[in-house]
Amino acid sequence: MLTRAYQHSLNGSHLPDGEPLLEVDHVSLRFGGVKALTDISFTVTQGHVHAIIGPNGAGKSSMLNCISGIYHPQEGSIRLQTAAADGTRTVSTLTKLPPHRIARLRVARSFQNIELFSHLTVLENLMLGRHIHMKHNVAASMLWFGPARRQEIAHRHLVEEVIDLLQLQAFRNKPVGSLAYGIQKRVELGRALCIQPALLLLDEPMAGMNAEEKEDMARYILDVHELAGVTVVLIEHDMNVVMDISDRVSVLDFGRLIADGTPDEVKADPAVVEAYLGSDTEDAAVKEALATLQEDA
């Protein structure tokens, strides 16, 4: 869907809404004797905001790392369905691919602890999001004039639209390392969007933010989802945010999937309440989550 004056769709998937986009199939991940994930299965539907929640150390980030190829699970598989512009479907098994090949399938992500190229400018970071779409080789790149120049100009149009969407105009030529934390989080979202993702993985996009910044970020994520139609998988601790913006919620606890459903179903699930009540951790986020759950239940 194209909105406002934007000419480029940020959604890189041609699947119709409601079809299964990503299938996580009986995934288990171990680090030596530590079981990080045990037999996890769920499906991410095209067009959804799919939240993964759970107490600290439940395996949420490990799950995301398996999807983006940074970890390779010992058992199970993760499959991504893609459709070409003419409608032909391809299923790729992500668990067999290195991270850069998964990125080329347009699976984009952000990290819990910002992983931007801090010495590069905002613009250079965003242009790196276009890396997979630029086809010219090293020789052309050295000549600069000709194909390299034409491609960079074409891709700059989309990058400018992302800058506009996320209101990063003022920071274009600033080195990312010099920017405020909240802005860096936004740049990271922008860099992922420049891939034109079929699937956008966000690892705690609002971690460490104040209420106002969280609201802004939630707004941007909703814009990306509703205006651009990008499917989002989101890890978040803030229950209010999760219940507000997600279509579907998967709950992990100690590496196991204990619930999977709509926000309302999950809220009412005794196993979920147990997981949060049962943990006597001092973690503020968990306490907050607990309060929300009790208040709503």
């Binding site: 983006s68 190829g69 940074i70 290195p98 991270p99 850069h100 090949r101 998964i102 990125a103 080329r104 984009a108 992500r109 990290f111 992983e115 931007l116 190229f117 801090s118 010495h119 590069l120 250079e124 242009m127 790196l128 999001g129 890396h131 997979i132 630029m134 010219h136 090293v138 790149s141 050295m142 600069w144 390299a148 491609q151 960079e152 860099r191 891939i195």
Partner: protein
């Protein structure tokens, strides 16, 4: 005044070649965190490859340069693929030992095929002199400065502006994030070694033309260490400034003091800079808390 101008030109020419050699070293260090002790031998091998194409095979100049570039590219790819890639994740000391071994291997190969006596190669750059502000300066040194300046500028623009240059900087900055941008880190590693080998080839050919095609080329290459320590191990502009400073310093000491002292001076600078400013003039200051 004429001595000063002469020394200045000689110093700048040496410095420009050093900067080219050091550029390759910095590229490899930045992108792959490998300290390449074989950089001097890359100069040596580059010069001998060009000699083979130009003199032994009798190819025209342009073709000989192209053959040199192709062979340098191949050497870069092969070294990365078969020597450095299996070492990924190993102890840095082991990797340093491997590159020292590589330097010995390359030197021995050159001796095996070409012997130890200097080879005669017809001059490529004109041997005439020009009058310049009352001094007689050799034209070939001026041309060396010019060629090196053009190549260094081209490389710098490539890193700052082009897609592959920015991808290299991205990998140097954060490998994990680079992978999730769809950048193949292995390709970037290979590219770093190729560019290092090609810049060393250019430096080697220029150096051989103003000196001689012999084993001493590798010794000159050893001077990249003072240069990169002075400029900063991970700084491309640092290689240019460091190269010029070391080149000028050795020539001025050699001209006004003593040629013997001039061979020591770069290493005195190396020790001093390590004592005073261990990250070099332009290097990134990394503070690690243990």
């Amino acid at each position: 005044m004429s001595t000063f101008l002469n020394l200045l030109v000689y110093g700048l020419a040496d410095g420009a070649i050093l900067a080219l050699a050091a550029l390759g070293f910095v590229l490899i260090y930045k992108a792959t965190s490998v300290i390449n002790f074989a950089q001097g031998e890359f100069l040596l091998v580059g010069a001998y490859m060009f000699y083979t194409a130009f003199v032994v095979l009798g190819l025209p100049l342009v073709a000989a340069v192209l053959v040199g570039v192709v062979v340098a590219t191949l050497i870069g790819v092969l070294v990365e693929r078969f020597i450095l890639r299996p070492m990924i994740g190993e102890d840095p000391i082991s990797i340093i030992m491997v590159t020292i071994g590589l330097s010995m291997l390359l030197k021995a190969l050159v001796q095996m095929f070409y012997g130890t006596s200097p080879k005669s190669q017809p001059a490529i750059l004109p041997r005439s002199s020009v009058e310049f502000l009352g001094a007689t300066v050799p034209l070939n040194r001026l041309l060396v400065i010019l060629i090196a300046a053009v190549v260094l500028t081209a490389f710098t623009i490539f890193f700052r502006r082009s897609r592959h240059g920015i991808a290299m900087r991205a990998v140097a900055d954060d490998q994990q994030a680079a992978m999730t941008m769809g950048i193949s880190v292995r390709r970037i590693f290979a590219l770093a070694w190729v560019l290092a080998a090609v810049s060393a080839l250019i430096a080697g050919v220029l150096l051989a033309d103003i000196s001689a095609v012999d084993q001493n080329l590798a010794g000159f290459g050893l001077m990249v260490f003072p240069v990169v320590i002075l400029g900063g191990l991970d700084s491309v502009p640092g290689t240019i400034v460091g190269g010029l400073i070391i080149g000028l310093l050795t020539q001025f000491v050699s001209g006004y003091q003593d040629p013997g002292l001039a061979t020591v001076v770069p290493y005195v600078v190396l020790v001093l800079i390590l004592l005073v400013r261990p990250y070099g003039l332009f290097g990134e200051t990394r503070i690690e808390r243990v």
